[in-house]
């Protein structure tokens, strides 16, 4: 199952490393990353493959969200289908 992970928050050292380490720990493969700084806010969007993950998807969502909160970041993980449905005909 492919999912989109978005990370939004104040820029700080080690965001990418921390998120990637967490994903790797739960056997989530990163397929693509895009990252920018928008109005001082760090914005990262990752396309990931979560078909091998050791957590139920809802559990992964919660783990990422909590890890984000520790660093003052908002991290969402959502199935890719939602974005395709809303923006593609």
């Amino acid at each position: 199952m492919r999912a989109i992970v978005t990370v939004i928050g104040k820029d700080q050292v080690g965001i990418i490393a921390a998120v990637c380490a967490l994903l790797s720990e739960h056997k989530v493969n990163v397929l693509d990353i895009s990252q920018t700084i928008l109005q001082e806010y760090f914005t990262m969007i990752m396309l990931v493959d979560a078909s091998q993950t050791d957590l139920p998807f809802a559990g992964l969502v919660k783990t990422l969200e909590e890890a984000g909160q520790e660093r003052g970041l908002v991290i969402h993980a959502q199935r890719e289908d939602i974005f395709n449905a809303m923006h593609r005909i």
Binding site: I4, S34, I45, I82
Partner: protein, 454 residues
């Protein structure tokens, strides 16, 4: 080149996080016709068993989809066959136990509401219909989250004025029985003209007899998203406004369609329809009234409001229709006063009055919804308001509804609080002049001409 479009993804995230985009409800319709029994206790047991068995996974599936897609699904609900059709087979005068059975099944399944304590009496009332309507005050006051509806008119049948008169008295009695909660019971009762069989929204949801055994219907929401989109086209022509609303409605509805398909597949229940509705909540930034004001009106309810709403309602449908394989339900912009922060403000200011709301219901879905009126409003005045609204539905071949709360002991200037999605309502004035002789005539208003339309 990334494999995704960054702006589109951030758009979606902002819609959900900041603009209140949500799926208002996944509603499972359940047929109860097979639960008929001459013994009311047996019938109630069959009803409880059928509902709890059919919908046992509904809440869990809803929560799973919510977590996986990151879309809030505010309510999970159940609608059932109009109860007068089921209870009519039982030898009993009081149908309250059937509502109690529904409420128990609702609690067991964990859904937010259950609807279908209903009767369809647009042309005439069977003894079962009469018993159901007479049971409404006790049924809806003694249960927690059971909703009821009565269809009193249709374009093909005309308006059953005996039923209209009866509903005025029923609403008064229900308000009196829930006087300790400002007449809250009335928030769970809708009087319809041209009721639809696949409506996922409460309080008017029921599972029509032309539906299958079970069905999944989804109602979307998103006034906040439309409002935000219109802020980016300030001062531009209505052509641009209409296009902007259409595009936004398309996206909102596609999300609803996705959720509906997922829920249908996971529950093994056929997908019915997506209801293309703009359903507001009392939260700031989730208001239909504020969309109308964004089009250039100082306060919702002033001159121009009806035209603004007509454009909004039509554009929502045009945008949504292409996004879903099956569209149905009520489909349009809702204007429930107590559930819309902007409507509440406009009513408190005195700009938005009952007469203007009535005009607005000519061009939108659904009707005079969640409006608190003085507690001393007579049953006949309530009936006359219902008759007016039913006439609009009948002549225009659209669904109209009335959900009025004559809040006991309250007067114009007071406010009643219902909490949650139902919000708070300023008491709105009604005309003091009598309609008693009009309502007492009884009989039927004949069905209107369908040609020579002027």
């Amino acid at each position: 080149m990334p494999m995704f479009n960054q702006n589109e993804i951030l758009d979606t995230i902002h819609m959900i996080d900041q603009q209140h985009l949500d799926v208002r409800t996944i509603t499972m319709g359940i047929n109860l016709l097979e639960c008929c029994d001459s013994d009311p206790k047996v019938a109630c047991r069959k009803i409880y068993d059928k509902i709890t068995c059919s919908a046992k996974d509904l809440v869990k599936v809803g929560e799973d989809i919510e977590a996986e897609f990151g879309i809030p699904i505010v309510n999970k609900r159940i609608s059932v066959t109009p109860m007068a059709l089921v209870a009519g087979a039982s030898q009993t005068e009081d149908y309250t136990p059937f509502a109690v059975a529904l409420d128990r099944a609702r609690a067991e399944t964990g859904v937010n509401f259950i609807g279908g304590f209903s009767a369809l009496v647009q042309k005439g009332m069977t003894p079962a219909d009469e018993r159901l309507i007479h049971s409404i005050p006790s049924a809806l006051s003694e249960t927690e989250l059971v909703c009821g509806s009565v269809n009193v008119g249709s374009t093909k049948a005309g308006i059953n004025m005996d039923a209209v008169a009866l509903m005025g008295r029923t609403i008064k009695e229900l308000a009196a029985r829930t006087a300790d909660k400002d007449g809250f019971g009335c928030a769970k009762l809708v009087v319809f003209c041209n009721a639809v069989e696949d409506n996922p929204f409460m309080a008017g949801a029921f599972h029509g007899v032309s539906e299958g055994d079970r069905v999944i219907n989804v109602g979307v929401s998103g006034p906040g998203v439309v409002y935000h989109a219109l802020q980016s086209v300030k001062g531009q022509s209505f052509d641009v406004v209409a296009e902007t609303v259409k595009k936004t409605a398309f996206r909102i509805t596609r999300m609803g369609q996705l959720v509906a398909q997922e829920a249908s597949a996971r529950l093994g229940v056929p997908f019915g329809i997506v209801d293309l509705s703009l359903a507001p909540t009392p939260a700031v930034g989730d208001s239909v009234a504020r969309i109308l004001e964004e089009m250039g009106l100082e306060t919702c309810g002033t001159h121009g409001t009806t035209a603004a709403l007509a454009l909004l309602n039509d554009a929502v449908k045009k945008g949504g229709v292409m996004a879903s394989s099956h569209v149905g339900g009520l489909s349009g912009a809702f204007i429930p006063v107590s559930e819309d922060e902007g409507m509440i403000a406009a009513a408190q200011k005195g700009t938005l009055c009952l007469d203007k709301l009535e005009a607005m219901t000519c061009v939108c879905s659904v009707g005079l919804d969640m409006i608190a009126v003085p507690g001393d409003t007579s049953a006949e005045t309530l009936s006359a308001i219902i008759a007016d609204e039913a006439a609009i539905g009948m002549v225009n071949a659209k669904t109209t509804a009335v959900r009025l709360i004559p809040a006991p002991g309250k007067r114009v200037g007071d406010t009643v609080e219902f909490g949650g999605l139902l919000g708070s309502a300023p008491i709105m004035p009604v005309h003091p002049e009598s309609a008693v002789d009009f309502v007492r005539r009884g009989g039927r208003i004949p069905a209107p001409m369908q040609s020579l339309k002027n």
